[in-house]
């Protein structure tokens, strides 16, 4: 099997799985876990966009 994902979809999938684990392991209550997981996901995906724009500017 040879799965070929784009850079963006690879990064978003990575963010989903890492955020789930971070949320569960780094907070105690269910509510905090969900909030922290969503926060991590937003930071991961936000970081992807920021890195993308930085690379775009460097390339110009």
């Amino acid at each position: 099997m040879n799965l070929q994902l784009s850079h963006f979809s690879s990064a978003v999938l990575f963010a989903v799985f890492a955020s789930v684990v971070f949320g569960i392991t780094q907070r105690s209550t269910s509510r905090e876990q969900i909030r922290y997981g969503l926060y991590c996901f937003a930071m991961f995906v936000g970081g992807v966009f920021v890195a993308g724009w930085v690379m775009w500017m460097l390339r110009r």
Partner: protein, 137 residues
Amino acid sequence: MANPSTTKETAPPQPVTTMSVLAPAIGWLIPGAGHLIQKRWIRGLLIMGSIAIMFLLGLAMQGRVYRPNGGDILDILGFVGDVGAGGLYIVTRALDLGQGAIAHATADYGTKYIIVAGLLNFICAADAYHIAIGKKP
């Protein structure tokens, strides 16, 4: 008289219980099982799904699975990350998968997926230990 700014309150030593040894060990071998044996069903299943899917996606993306005798220091670090996946790593090595002939740009993501899946499993095993000793609900 003790100075309150310099004295440190040391936590009492945690008693070694069967669960405090078993939970991280089982959690390392089977991702999420450390939580499942402590009846944290939803957490355990989410961890199991996340780490297993991440590891399998890494393999499907032609990611490389590091061997213990890589020689290069970065290969050794890659092995440390990979081995965190426990049973997934053992089965992968037994089936001789993850040969890592990187044929396209995103295959490198596969290698990183496999390493990070292992590292996340280390965190989950530590979390299972904290639940077992009562440090976390």
